[in-house]
């Protein structure tokens, strides 16, 4: 079971809690986690990554085990602690002033 923490606006949009739990088949990667997330919460499609290019939206970041994994290739396996559910994958909205 993979754990994913969503930013507040996406919790509202998905009507999910702050942390969602997902079953991911195969290697646990950015692509497979987001696929599973969007199957469970289709209203989030397009909000985290582009519909077509699958590129991360610029103001969102992916943090795993206290490291920034935002720019890793889509199919790079996440650390074992993410894959086991010991640690959550954090999806973070960039801060902005004003």
């Amino acid at each position: 079971m993979i754990r994913v923490v969503l930013p507040p606006h996406l919790r509202t949009l998905s009507k999910a809690g702050s942390e969602v739990q997902l079953d991911v088949v195969g290697p646990v990667t950015q692509r497979s986690v987001l696929d599973a997330l969007e199957v469970r919460y289709p209203m989030l499609r397009g909000t985290i990554r582009d519909h077509v290019s699958l590129r991360r939206r610029p103001f969102l970041r992916f943090f795993a085990c206290a490291e920034d994994w935002s720019n890793e290739p889509l199919d790079t396996p996440y650390p074992a602690a993410i894959a086991s559910g010991e640690e959550p994958l954090l999806i973070i909205g960039a801060i902005a002033g004003g």
Binding site: L10, R40, P42, R45, H51, L54, G93
Partner: protein
């Protein structure tokens, strides 16, 4: 008694303001979609309970919301849970939040770039939906004006969208250039009598018309004069801020351009200036009285460098002669220290016998005049900056 429902989109959510026909006592509902930029909400004239809304965010992109109960509840029409995530081609399935420019070999191949600020060509990039225009005949048909400028259409209630690429592809697309607010298609007007005729406007490309339901388009900017482009009389490149018409006379158009208030009596083929005695002819909004096709409204703004009213006095100007002769309307509006703006989609009129006029400001006020502009009162004073105002007249 009839009642009105005002749909206000703001920088931080949507608000629904309702009142009976007297338009004195208002109920305020919201914020809906709190914290999101709500660029535009508009109801179907066929089914007033059907409302479409554009919800956007610099972080999370574009969401299309739909209500089938007059704004009480909302849903994303194209994201039913439990369906496969990808289609047969392996791409993520098309759904209501997906606006993809036409790149097909048949119709979209040449439509790759437009003019960028530095004079180079730049790829088209979808950013948001500025305006949603429901059909006058079918509640499931709705058009979306997008940034970067393109027109999309849905015929399934917003579940899926496809681009009417004849607009970008008619020939001048590579010369279009963004204005300071982005290259947005902000105005969509469907001829009520002839749905094959649609007018659109783009900042800063100009106005365009189709007479075949969106397959082919032509620029309709002859007569516009803009000092800020190299050829002031060019076929395209004019910063049109808004266009309005009266449904009974679909060939008569009124335009608030960056500077100049303009009029066309031949469906945009030729324009002439009707700024007349306005204290400044810069502004964003323009609208037409519901029952008097020659009565029009604008809100003069000091200049393109100072986006606020002259001398801090918020004023609406009304012409009962289709332009040139303008009357200042001030009763109930701020007399001093008012430095708000009124954005292009933030004025609307209702259909009651005594036509109501509404507008919203970047200071968060939504004003109503229940007597066609003679007097004004704020419905609310402290919303987030108002991006758009639409009104529905209900039985």
């Amino acid at each position: 008694m009839s009642k009105v429902r005002v749909l206000a989109g703001t920088r931080k959510g949507a608000f629904i303001l309702t009142a009976d026909g007297k338009r004195q006592n208002w109920e305020i509902s919201g914020p809906h979609f709190a914290g999101w930029e709500m660029y535009h909400l508009k109801g179907s004239s066929v089914d007033p309970n059907r409302i479409y809304a554009s919800q956007t965010s610099g972080w999370f992109g574009q969401i299309i919301q739909r209500s089938d109960d007059g704004g009480k509840t909302w849903f994303q029409p194209g994201t039913p849970p439990g369906e496969p995530i990808t289609g047969p081609e392996g791409m993520l399935k098309g759904e209501s939040n997906k606006f993809v420019y036409d790149t097909s070999a048949e119709t979209g191949k040449p439509l790759t770039t437009h003019l960028w600020y530095d004079g180079t060509q730049h790829p088209w990039e979808f950013k948001r939906v500025w305006h949603l225009e429901p059909s006058h005949h079918d509640p499931n048909t709705v058009y979306a004006g997008a940034e970067d400028a393109a027109l999309f259409k849905s015929t399934d209630g917003g579940v899926t969208w496809h681009e009417l690429s004849g607009l970008r592809g008619h020939g001048t697309g590579p010369k279009w250039q963004p204005g300071a607010g982005g290259m947005c298609l902000h105005t969509v007007i469907i001829d009520k009598k002839n749905p094959e005729r649609i007018y659109i406007a783009i900042s800063a490309a100009g106005a365009f018309r189709t007479d075949d339901g969106g397959k082919t388009w032509k620029p309709i900017n002859r007569g516009l004069h803009s000092q800020y482009i190299p050829d002031p009389n060019a076929e395209i490149g004019h910063c049109v801020h808004h266009v309005a018409l009266h449904p009974s006379r679909p060939d008569v158009l009124f335009m608030q351009k960056h500077w100049d208030v303009m009029r066309s009596d031949d469906a945009g083929d030729q324009w002439h200036e009707v700024s007349g005695n306005l204290p400044t002819d810069f502004g964003f909004v323009i609208d037409v009285h519901a029952h008097e096709p020659e009565t029009i409204y604008v809100v003069p703004i000091k200049s393109d460098g100072e986006h606020f009213p002259i001398d801090g006095k918020l004023r609406v100007y009304r012409s009962k002669s289709g332009g040139n002769e303008w009357q200042e309307l001030s009763k109930g509006l701020p007399e001093k220290d008012c430095y708000v703006n009124v954005l292009r989609d933030a004025m609307a009129v209702d259909q009651l016998d005594k036509c109501g006029v509404y507008f919203g400001t970047t200071g968060g006020q939504v004003y109503c005049s229940p007597d066609a502009g003679d007097s004004w009162a704020p419905i609310v004073r402290d919303l987030p900056a108002v991006l758009s105002v639409e009104v529905q007249t209900l039985p």
